[in-house]
């Protein structure tokens, strides 16, 4: 299983380098001219420029949200460079010998192949770009059944009618501070379209998407599944991701029509900063799915292990009757990391169902909060929700909080919430040790057991890697 994963990831890096792209960028700062520049640079239609400007004008009236249980220096939005055309990566190091051995050790433990280690660390490697790439091959295969899977920019050029129809239909341009900022300045991302009745024959992964490695800071993802269509989409990877941009504000929109199903899985391992919390990524993401059609189904699975600050609530709007929303989450924080994550399940249609399984693990001096809203609207006859929010504490100086919000406006609704807090303590570890199991393996086994309900929602090879990743992240936390 792990081997499959390595094959997949090495493919990415084999094909992940593109040369000869004209480089240019705009001066730091944000104003309407910058937005016009971005839009012009990308050759966008007028309606998209209008979408951006509207978002920007609204953003100016907004203030940064304060309600999350995270503490961080507010970014200076005038210091960010909002457009920098993709350019060839300049290697940071001339050889592997110059790379931090600690980092290489991490890669080794995760089983990252050596050439991939080099690319991740930013070492110069000779990569020959193969025009008949795996990407192209898959794209052609997908195209035969009518599936569109491409970069957001390409989708704007090739399929403007679809983008116009669905962009901002789930997360409006004015939705929240970071979503508005993203709507104004997003540079690229992914677009997936699964036509009526089609089951996507493979898991779609950002691994297979070319030319998009540097679109990270303000990424935009849109996935549409038409009537009866289904797709599983994977985002992220387990290897640590580094980026010079500290602030990340992505927007992900999912639309599921009648009887359609979208499964969206994320493994997030952005750089979390050093042990004192210096230099980590701020991850402020808006992810939302609209179960627009009858009996549609949207499922979010996330394993959040990185970032200095995580602010993220993958949500479902259950509009269609009999639609189903699911949220499975493992959020792990260590050292000085802070995570405020959870979901919103908005029941609008009749007999809508939602399930929330959240597992928070905190170690070190970290802070880990679950924040979730279950809202049942007046017409959501027979709506049902089950929520389970479990926290596990490792050590004495971390914290875990749960903020469940439940609003029910229909008497027939049934909402259940369960929460537990446990601790990997001395007694538990001693028990394992007394059976000959060393501490690190004991922790790994206990954590795995704790996260089992979420891991089994992940695609198999992802689950195996996620397991290793959690153990690695917790190394040295106990005992």
């Amino acid at each position: 299983m792990s081997t499959t994963f390595n094959v997949v990831t090495s493919q990415e890096y084999k094909y992940g380098f593109v040369t000869d792209i004209e480089a240019d960028s705009v001066a730091p700062g944000l104003n309407e001219d910058v937005i016009r520049f971005i839009s012009a640079k990308k050759g966008e239609p007028d309606w998209l420029l209008e979408f951006r400007l509207k978002a920007y004008r609204h953003w100016l009236t907004m203030t940064e949200p304060e309600w999350a249980k995270v503490d961080y220096p507010r970014p200076d939005f005038q210091k960010i460079v909002y457009y920098s055309a993709p350019k060839a990566k300049i290697p940071k190091y001339a050889s592997m010998d110059e790379v931090d051995p600690e980092l290489l050790r991490t890669f080794e433990k995760l089983g990252v192949p050596i050439n991939e280690q080099a690319t991740l660390a930013g070492v110069a490697v000779d990569v020959v770009f193969d025009s008949v790439s795996v990407t192209t091959t898959y794209k052609e295969k997908l195209a035969t059944v009518g599936i569109i899977f491409c970069s957001f920019s390409e989708a704007v050029r090739e399929h403007p009618e679809l983008i116009k129809k669905y962009l901002g239909s789930v997360v409006p341009a004015t939705d929240n501070f970071y979503a508005a900022l993203n709507s104004a300045v997003f540079t690229d991302g992914s677009f997936v379209f699964i036509p009526k009745g089609v089951t996507c024959p493979m898991d779609l992964s950002t691994y297979f998407r070319i030319n998009n490695k540097d679109s990270g800071q303000f990424e935009r993802t849109l996935i549409v599944a038409e009537e009866g269509a289904s797709v599983s989409y994977l985002e992220g990877c387990t290897a640590p991701q580094f980026d010079t941009n500290q602030l990340h504000a992505a927007v992900v929109e999912l639309v599921a029509l009648d009887h359609a199903s979208i499964k969206y899985s994320t493994v997030q391992n952005w750089y979390a900063g050093d042990k004192n919390g210096v230099g980590g990524i701020f991850n402020f993401v808006t992810k939302r799915g609209l179960c627009k059609g009858k009996a549609s189904h949207i499922s979010w699975t996330q394993v959040e292990t990185g970032s200095a600050i995580t602010w993220k609530y993958p949500s479902c709007i259950l509009l269609g009757d009999d639609s189903v929303g699911e949220f499975y989450s493992v959020a792990l924080t260590n050292h000085k990391q802070q995570a405020d994550t959870g979901t919103k399940m908005i029941h609008i249609g009749r007999n809508t169902k939602s399930t929330i399984i959240s597992k928070g693990i905190s170690a070190g001096d970290s802070s880990n909060s679950y924040r979730g809203l279950v809202k049942v609207m007046p017409k959501a006859e027979g709506a049902r929700n089950f929520s389970q929010c479990d926290s596990m504490l490792i050590g004495q100086t971390c914290s875990a909080s749960t903020f469940p919000y439940i609003e029910v406006q229909n008497r027939s609704a049934k909402v259940e919430h369960e929460a537990t807090t446990s601790k990997i303590g001395e007694e538990q570890l001693f028990y394992f040790q007394q059976r000959g199991i060393p501490t690190e393996e004991a922790i790994s086994m206990i954590i795995n057991g704790f996260c089992k309900d979420v891991f089994r929602e992940l695609p198999m090879e992802f689950a195996v890697e996620a397991t290793k990743l959690l153990s690695l992240k917790l190394e040295g936390s106990v005992g």
Binding site: Q433, Q434, G436, I437, E441, G449, F450, G479
Partner: protein, 254 residues
Amino acid sequence: MLSIKNLTASINGTPVLKGINLEIKAGEIHAIMGPNGSGKSTLGKVLAGHPSYEVTGGEVLFEGKNLFDLEPDARARAGIFMGFQHPIEVPGVSNASFLRLAYNKKAEAEGREELDPLEFDDFIHEKIKLVAMKEEFLDRSLNEGFSGGEKKRNEILQMAVLEPKLAILDELDSGLDIDALRVLGEAVNNLQQPDRALLIITHFPRILETIQPQFVHVLSGGRILKSAGKELALELEDRGYDWVLEEAAAGGAR
């Protein structure tokens, strides 16, 4: 096999063991008895290496080697097993996978072949018969939602899987009904061999009817007050502990 010399230990600065001397040879069964709070359980935990206890003096040799040089997991792999009075519950970790990991860790340490899940499945199905455990308990989370008796059954199953040289059984009888006690007592007897030893820690003599010790020690106030043969257990059943304490007080504590 085990040689304890003048062992002292404390918890949070409070002395609990105040000079224990005990020799256990291969093939022997010893019982440590005593009133509640006497330090019986502490002795077991100190030998197993519980992190809350600090060894403040004395020496313990296990097969000639200093026991305190070994981490608790290394002691376990060297052949020391402790049956817990209150086995801990671990949600999400299946009993079978826990047992297999424990088995394989020991096998690895001894240079024996590790068992894959299928091989282990055959192996464990033989073992559960020894303790009359139902198969479903293998797939359940480790001790989670087990009754007191089921937890103890699981402890002895682990002992049967690991086949330790020295098994320290802490209050095996607590939480067990008569029938279960007999089954588990017999299982322990079956596991006892000339190259293995048992240290039974118990408050009540009842369990010693099934697992018959050659040596019985009364521990109180962190010291062994009296050591004798198995007839001492019967006497304690009749007369309780007070007379031993009084006798020790009259003779002056050793």
